[in-house]
Symmetry: none
Subunit: 219 residues, 4 copies
DNA sequence: GATGAATGAGGTTTCATTCAT
DNA sequence: AATGAATGAAACCTCATTCAT
């Protein structure tokens, strides 16, 4: 459910030709980079995984660096879209606010703990000094955009009198931090699956703390 | 102030012999690993930085893997000691609780944002799949120990009637998350220095939220 | 003045079709071979320089080897024609023999030191072991034909009593050697332009020596 | 008699260690470069010919370019020494001048037509644009030094009243040109062995022309 | 204990060439 | 006839590691 191929049909078996090869290489590249890291990943292995010859990789992406950048940004955009979609559950009329926050929080944590998301974060941490401009694209299309969108929703809830907060961006950052911070260690940076009850407990605790701090008292 | 050499006297210039060479190699190794990553770092470069010949590295550490593990754990322990020392400021009688939390929070963030700490986290993220047992040592002696010690302090404050909380470990996790979560993006994973006022604002906001959620009302 | 394109109109801009493409490829090939050498020259670069796609090169010339041979022989024939044309200045009635020899010598040296001629010689030296049969075509249509034609003229001058020589071919070889030998080093194998006064001095010296050895005394 | 190894004992079988490996690599490099050309010669093949591993070549010479330069200059110096030694036959008292010139001319032509000398010239022609500074070393230690030394001898003969010439360097250049020029085509740039009688005839003709032009008349 | 020299394995990249359109 | 895309082979070079001193 978390592999990079699942948003499209598996194109490596089709014979539609060019565009599919490009996609296949990008997907294979992310898989191999995630498993081996940028340094130890071999273009050989990527080409093999994609079912193409090595020079084809170079024809499409120029080299290992370009391939890495494109594979990262492509996966980042797919992951970002998923997490943004979760936020829609916080729109319109919210009846039970804590329940809605728990719902959204759970959805966000599922995105956060997906294999692809962990791989993205690990690779970004690992190679940020070799690819300084990668942060902007990956983080910008992911956590940053998510924080902004969440801040929008929180601001609307504040206007509706449901929350009391001055700085919606700060509140959004803190909401995400309360969700994800305790998970980092418990999942051993993504190498261990966190049991669902642990996830739910973390979400519940985050929402509890968040509402204690920000929920407006019902009259 | 953040380099790995500064907690001890620079041993590479002395002539005390064996132990100094060992330290020099460990320090040089962490510097090079931090700059290049495990995969691209060369034993040549490490030996050069340490001022010894390559086989000497092998005589002491057996190989690149062993050297990496030892360099990581050594730096992790040094970093952990620093952050634990910060917690002592929360001991004994606490008069102004928010002020004390801000003080501790600021100290912890300074540790968290040190160059060595960022390098540790980046390398741990990068190589966790190649060195699965490294997490235990590095995280165990760092964030985990810190969370436990902080939970102790918070429990004592709860017993003293200053905080209202059921699960001190959860509260400690959340306090750390509120501090560090918003900093991650703002520092571009450690490649940009965060201005001090931004740090202080983050600390203030974290303590504000934490106290709103957990502080016991003064009678 | 020495480029391979200048003896014909630039055909790459016309739309006459096939034959022009062939010429364009041949010209581009010689340019690239001359700059990079046979080994390092890429068919990609040649196709790009000619403004055609790579397979077109293969359709016309079969491969890199065939292209090289044809480009070499085409340029060799063009260069040979130029140097043969110079010899006509030694025909008919020669009044001032040394002056006529200087005239011809100067013309021959201009041919010899043209960029294309140097490129031809360098490529021939470089690849003679990989293309043994290339020597026959290039040398045969160039220096060999020139020597024979010059020998004819010298024989006629001998018959006319102006020169004293037994072996006209040998004399022709020596005349060319006296001209070109001293230029080889001074032009750094064609990578430096020899100043005109140096060229003229060399011609004068060659003719002086030649006439001292072979001129019949005027009665 | 012309291989690059013959000035020393074959060192590849000895076990004296370092210095011999360096020599063995240089010799093997020249052999392979001469056979394949710079572009197509592989470091693999050179290492194999030298009986060492590939990285050893890189440890000693840094790369293919450095290896090429050193192999060329080393061979050039060896070849230059041989041709300079020939000139000693023109020293002291010269009784039969034409005979002495024939003797020297024959010796010089033997040097000129040695396999190593041809390989040097071919490689120099081939790669002069990629290694512009190579000309200085190879030509400077070879033909240039030879011309200068020969000019010295001719000047001395002129002072002794045996020759009549103004510019000894020019005369030396012309003597060499008369010797080598006619040989170039006849040996197919070194890929065909010129029969000895052809060599002797060329020497005789060169000396004949030279003496006709420069010998002082005996009183 | 420390080192200069050497190595086997593997890395990224480029090239001449062909296929299907 | 001309081309964009793909490929098998091989190039140069680097690395972690060991040996003999």
């Amino acid at each position: 459910m978390t592999g990079p191929h699942l948003s499209t049909t598996d194109s490596r078996r089709t014979s539609r030709g060019r565009i599919d090869k490009r996609e296949a290489i990008l997907d294979a590249a992310f898989v191999v980079f995630a498993k081996e890291g940028y340094g130890k990943a071999g273009v050989d292995a990527i080409a093999g995984e994609a079912g193409v010859a090595k020079p084809t990789v170079y024809n499409h992406f120029g080299g290992k660096e370009g391939l890495f950048k494109e594979a990262m940004t492509a996966t980042a955009e797919r992951a970002a879209a998923k997490s943004l979609a979760v936020l829609t559950r916080l729109g319109g009329d919210v009846d039970d606010l804590p329940q809605a926050l728990r719902d959204v929080g759970h959805g966000l944590l599922l995105c956060y703990t997906s294999d692809d998301a962990w791989a993205l974060r690990r690779l970004l941490h690992a190679e940020i000094s070799r690819f300084p401009d990668l942060f902007e694209k990956v983080w910008g299309s992911g956590p940053h955009q998510l924080t902004e969108a969440l801040a929008d929703r929180l601001a609307r809830l504040a206007l509706a009198g449901r929350l009391r907060l001055d700085d919606p961006v700060r509140a959004a950052e803190q909401f995400v931090a309360l969700l994800t911070g305790p998970i980092e260690g418990r999942s051993v940076l993504g190498t261990r699956t966190v049991p669902d009850d642990e996830v739910r407990a973390t979400v519940a605790a985050a929402v509890e703390t968040f509402t204690r701090a920000f929920a407006a008292p019902r009259e």
